[in-house]
């Protein structure tokens, strides 16, 4: 029967081409707006590292003195940590992997004097960083673990920098001049652009990733500046980099990898014990003092990566789709009404109401499918528009398979819902009215 209904639907479309076209356009328009907005929204909040997002944790510590909270977060916890805390936490061997993290930058001074020096953003991290976040190497490897304890001037660079300075060749062993100091290249990583940049949401969630990675242990040696946020609540005299390293200023980040729930529990206990231990140094004096662990998805939600504007637009777009669908209901009523005489004949010849109902739902499904495909096509235009308007959304304007399926599902689903009433109306019509009997 399905094949038969499809054939009848096709004939019906040929009979009322304008009306059908109007409907497909109405649905297509509604779907395109919805899909453009949904795509951006979905990709904003999409898990950037699904294989490990539940095992990577960002550490927060409530270090404020009593009544000194100046954080902008809902729960009052600051986004970043102090240098002493990060150094202390790094002693624990409970996490499978762990890394300290600071956003910084360098002047890159190329070898040849014709090339002018340029700035590049960089990150000071520990060796575990690359394995933790599954960053692939194309040449070489990360530095040895003991460099994280006794600092050496080594560096891992990104593919784009490698292409720019070394024409894409294997540059392992070569030297890089950063701020007039020489660093030995130990590895080159492939292009890596997670969206969002979940490992540092404090400094631009959708910014480009860094292309220079140096050991965190170089911080006190080279007095690396912070290119990120620096937040201090305590009145302290900071006259030197050493002062800053000792202070309660929150300017560095810490990520750990905990693979099992038991491990997570153990680490939580460790953090609680750490806070207690620090209290004897007159730190963590507020009664709210505690530690917090957020995995990748929780950290993204905490930082409200999905913008409010995007969420508002999702709501508005569904209302827009509703209006398009309501319009379609009216058009369907007209289209089906035109066919009422034929329905009358079919009923007289023995079609049950259910069979007429199903026939018209098949009709609606075809239209919905066509509308969905049109909506997908128009949606691409919409995404292009979004890309033009929002400069930082380059990674958020493509549709993956999931989104295409969602589009078709919404198109079919909403069309079927819209079609329920017209199909019900038409199958209920009294056949004798249309049979022109006597």
């Amino acid at each position: 029967m399905l094949k038969y209904y499809l054939k009848l639907s096709w004939l019906s479309i040929k009979r009322t081409p304008m009306l059908t076209l109007l409907m497909v356009c109405a649905i297509g328009l509604g779907i395109s707006v919805t899909m453009t907005v949904l795509t951006v929204n979905y990709l904003m909040g999409k898990d950037p590292i699904p294989s490990k997002s539940g095992e990577l944790f960002h550490v927060q510590l409530y270090t404020y003195g009593p009544g000194q909270n100046n954080a902008q977060t809902d729960d009052g916890f600051p986004y970043q940590l102090t240098y002493p805390d990060v150094m202390n936490l790094h002693e624990s061997d409970i996490p499978t992997r762990k890394t300290r993290s600071l956003a910084t930058g360098f002047s890159v001074i190329p070898d040849s004097p014709e090339q002018t020096p340029f700035m590049e953003s960089a990150r000071a991290i520990d060796a575990d960083f690359f394995a933790m976040f599954k960053i692939p190497f194309i040449f070489g490897n990360v530095w040895d673990a003991n460099v994280d304890k006794s600092a050496r001037q080594v560096v891992v660079i990104g593919k784009s920098l490698n292409d720019r300075l070394f024409k894409g060749e294997n540059s392992v062993g070569k030297e890089l001049n950063l701020n007039t100091s020489k660093y030995t290249i130990v590895g080159v990583i492939d292009d890596w652009q997670p969206a969002p940049r979940f490992y540092d949401l404090n400094n631009g969630s959708f910014n480009d990733t860094e292309v220079i990675f140096v050991p965190f242990s170089l911080l006190p040696v080279l007095e690396l500046p912070s290119w990120g946020n620096n937040n201090g609540w305590k009145t302290e005299t900071i006259n030197s980099y050493q002062d800053k390293l000792r202070s309660e200023i929150m300017w560095v980040q810490y990520w750990v990898e905990l693979n099992t729930p038991a491990q997570v529990e153990e680490y939580r206990d460790y953090l609680a014990a750490y806070i207690d231990q620090q209290k004897q140094f007159e730190r963590f004096q507020d009664e709210k003092a505690a530690a917090k662990l957020n995995n990748v998805i929780q950290w993204m939600e905490y930082n409200e990566v999905v913008s409010d504007d995007s969420s508002i637009l999702v709501g508005l777009s569904f209302m827009f789709l509703a209006v398009c669908m309501i319009n379609t209901i009216g058009l369907l009523l007209s289209k089906f009404l035109k066919r009422a005489p034929e329905v009358g004949v079919r009923r007289a010849l023995g079609a049950s109401r259910k069979e007429i109902f199903v026939q018209h739902l098949v009709d609606v499904s075809l239209i919905g499918l066509a509308g969905g495909l049109l909506g997908l096509a128009l949606g691409q235009l919409g995404l292009l528009g979004v890309k033009e308007l929002y400069s930082s959304y380059e990674q958020l304007v493509y549709m993956d398979t999931t989104l295409v399926l969602i589009a078709i599902a919404i198109a079919l689903g909403s069309s079927l819902i819209a079609g329920l009433y017209p199909a019900w109306e038409i199958c209920r019509t009294n056949p004798s009215v249309y049979l022109k009997t006597q």
């Binding site: 029967m1 038969y4 004939l11 040929k14 009979r15 005489p341 034929e342 009358g344 004949v345 079919r346 009923r347 007289a348 010849l349 023995g350 079609a351 049950s352 109401r353 259910k354 069979e355 009294n430 056949p431 004798s432 049979l435 022109k436 009997t437 006597q438």
Partner: protein
Amino acid sequence: MLKMNNIKKVFRTDLVETHALRDFSLEVSEGEFVAVTGPSGSGKTTFLNITGMLETFDGGNYILDEQDVSRLNDKQRSRLRNEKIGFIFQSFNLIPDLNLFDNVDVPLRYRGFKAKERKERIEHALERVGLSARLKHLPSQLSGGQQQRVAIARALAGEPRFLLADEPTGNLDSLMARQVMQLLEEINQQGTTIIMVTHDAELARRAQRNIHIVDGQVSDYQDLQPVLDVIEA
């Protein structure tokens, strides 16, 4: 085969109650050719719709092949209509964008026959009405008489218990009307029961039995043949 006892049908609006059929009774045996006549407004249409199970009724009972149809739901009535009744309409009511083959096919689809069986039945039915050469043509390419013959083929294809014809020649000129009537008589002679509703007395005479409805009731119950014999004698 078909029995209607004291059928009552009332149409109610806010202000007016119309008794379309009151105390209407009829019995039709297999193989009969019955004509139901009456002036306009007499209830012929209502009778037609009720006999064809297109409408329900408010009193009495309707028994078809020993089965009481008043208690049936829409799905069951549709099934019965599909299997037992072959409709023929005054305005043919062929579906304009289906060809002849597909038009005759319509009731068979709702019967659930497989493609092979449907094909056989359709070809046989169209042959019986003399139109098998024009299988692929559209109704618009046929004359009125030919269209009605297709409608008859459509009605016959499912081997119904009886044909229910509503003014079958009303939209045809006299030549085509005669052809169609001839065909109906042939079909009846071959054993198919026919119930025909008409207001044309000439037409009614071709049937064996006449039933006359006035104001929703049977007024005359006549077997015309002896009367005609007397007149012609």
